[in-house]
């Protein structure tokens, strides 16, 4: 690379800085405002400082069923994560060679990413209605979320296997490992950081999904549906408190996943 920075560096760096500010600024604003005093409103100025809106969040009558929807979203996110990691990993292994229908399946996965979410939601909702089965977050909702997380998982696995040398597997095979042993003791440990990455996509995309849950969640709301409901009838900073809490959960999950990936990489090198 070049030794010194080109003339374009600083203008581009400033542009980048503004972009980051644009990305994070609003979120930081609502985190600050969620500590608004009891008299405060949805905008600045801050009228004192309190945790009143967070307390409000746990009084069910104020904001609907926050606790229940929160637990449902966490559970669903966890199930989606597990299914996404396993199914994408298997499909990733399969796609290293051509198999009957591989091209069609690839285009189907891409289509799943491109077909508007509201359409998938509507379709699954109608399908359950026609079949006479009640929609529920753990059945129709799970399926709807998987149509969104699996294509991401698959594309990540493509990128991962592109850089994965088959030499490790050949070595294992030469040493007499069965295909299952090769996967279990060679491929999975090497790819573990990437599998955590797939899991991160699975969880966060499901945990925050609104449109695909709309007609598939059934009687009980998931958290994004609950939040959306609040946007139309809540006019106090309690909604910012909710935003702060869910964003906090997302950051915890992201931090744990990235931390885990880094730890694994470091241990491998050391």
């Amino acid at each position: 690379m070049r030794g010194e920075r080109s003339r374009a560096f600083w203008p581009l760096a400033i542009f980048f800085g503004l972009f980051v500010l644009f990305l994070y600024g609003p979120t930081i604003t609502i985190v600050v405002l969620s500590f608004q005093g009891p008299e405060g409103g949805l905008t600045f100025p801050m009228r004192g400082f309190s945790t009143r809106w967070f307390e409000n969040l746990f009084e069910t009558q104020m904001v609907g069923d926050f606790g229940g929807s929160f637990i449902r979203s966490l559970t669903l996110g966890l199930i989606v994560t597990i299914v996404t990691v396993i199914v994408s990993f298997m499909a990733g292994l399969a796609f290293r060679r051509r198999f009957p229908g591989s091209t069609a399946l690839f285009y189907l996965a891409v289509a799943s990413l491109i077909v508007p979410s509201v359409l998938v939601s509507l379709g699954i909702g109608l399908m359950f209605r026609m079949a006479g089965i009640d929609a529920a977050w753990w059945s129709s909702g799970l399926g709807a979320h998987l149509t969104w997380t699996l294509p991401f998982g698959l594309l990540i696995m493509f990128a991962v296997f592109n850089r994965f040398s088959p030499a490790y597997e050949e070595a294992a095979r030469d040493l007499g490992a069965t295909p299952w042993q090769t996967i279990r003791h060679v491929v999975v440990p090497i790819l573990l950081p990437s599998l955590i990455g797939v899991g991160l996509f699975g969880f966060t995309l499901s945990y925050d999904e609104f449109a695909r849950s709309l007609y598939t969640a059934g009687t009980f709301n998931t958290l994004p549906l609950e939040i959306y409901g609040m946007t139309t009838n809540v006019t106090t900073p309690v909604i910012f408190a909710l935003g702060t809490v869910t964003t906090g959960v997302s950051f915890l999950v992201i931090g744990a996943a990235l931390g885990g990936m880094m730890l694994l990489r470091r241990r491998r090198r050391g």
Partner: protein, 282 residues
């Protein structure tokens, strides 16, 4: 067992899930779009009325036009931002460590809630929001600007906020794979930074640009949440039209609209795919 069949077996869970939750639901939508309905139920039938009513209504055409307009403006802004950010990361940040960190900084918001990210514009753009306060403070305006929140401006702003990343990631991915010796060669041959950008980097980043464009256009075309929240009910989109029909229990009408939307989106993507074969680029 041959490897062909192992592959099929390993891919079968993915195939089954997508068949059950993508193909069958879309099939259901197509079937239902030909059904009849009254105010309380849907009646199995084969009629074209839903399509007739949809395609001969001026509201439909206006709404589609509005949605395509949103998609086009969002696409242009996202392309500019996405390309600039990716170019900075790929060609002007020297250390790979720093590159990864800055890339993650851009990616993390994607993993948080869209609805919350939209709501978080309220204290910023509202009548008494930060922006109006600041502009009033420096004397640039003497009345709060009303168009900032609950307007088409707010809708596009939120789209760009939510989806610029869809452009950054694929373009960055294309750019890091560009062979640096090509850039060096162009520079040695006397090309200016601008010429290198135009004649080397942009053509080689085309696959990323195409993938990003497809993602951005697809999500904006199908959106209804952002339009509803950020326009405060003053704007329409095709997705919102469908959701409104659903809330009136007019399932067949919503289904017909869904079929038309799907065709429009697929045509738009097919047009973009003529530019690049994504399978080759993965």
């Amino acid at each position: 067992m041959t490897s062909r069949w192992t592959g099929l077996l390993l891919a079968s869970p993915l195939a089954l899930i997508l068949a059950l939750f993508l193909i069958v639901p879309i099939g259901t939508i197509i079937v239902v779009s030909f059904f009849d309905y009254d105010s309380v139920r849907i009646i199995p039938d084969f009629i074209w009325t839903n399509y007739d009513e949809l395609l001969f209504s001026p509201i439909t055409w206006k709404t589609y036009l509005q949605t395509v307009q949103f998609a086009a403006i969002t696409w242009a802004i996202c392309l500019f931002i996405g390309f600039t950010v990716a170019y900075f990361l790929a060609f002007h940040v020297a250390s790979p460590m720093m590159q990864t960190v800055l890339f993650l900084v851009c990616t993390i918001p994607f993993w948080t809630s869209n609805v919350i990210r939209m709501i978080s514009w309220i204290p910023f753009l509202g009548r008494n929001g930060l922006l109006n306060q600041a502009l009033l403070g420096i004397g640039a305006i003497d009345q709060p600007l009303e168009f900032l929140l609950f307007s088409n401006f707010a809708v596009v702003l939120a789209y760009v906020h939510l989806y610029a990343l869809f452009m950054v990631v694929p373009i960055f991915n294309s750019m890091v794979r560009i062979d640096r010796s090509l850039v060096e060669a162009a520079r040695d041959a006397g090309a200016s930074e601008w010429q290198v950008l135009r004649s080397v980097i942009i053509p080689l980043a085309r696959p990323g640009i195409a993938i990003g464009s497809i993602l951005v256009v697809a999500v904006v075309m199908g959106d209804f949440v952002t339009v509803r929240l950020m326009s405060g009910g003053q704007s329409a989109s095709v997705g919102l039209m469908m959701v409104n029909a659903m809330s009136l229990l007019q399932y067949p009408a919503a289904a017909a609209n869904a079929v038309v939307l799907l065709i429009v989106v697929l045509l738009m993507i097919a047009a973009m795919l003529r530019v690049v074969d994504i399978r080759k680029e993965l």
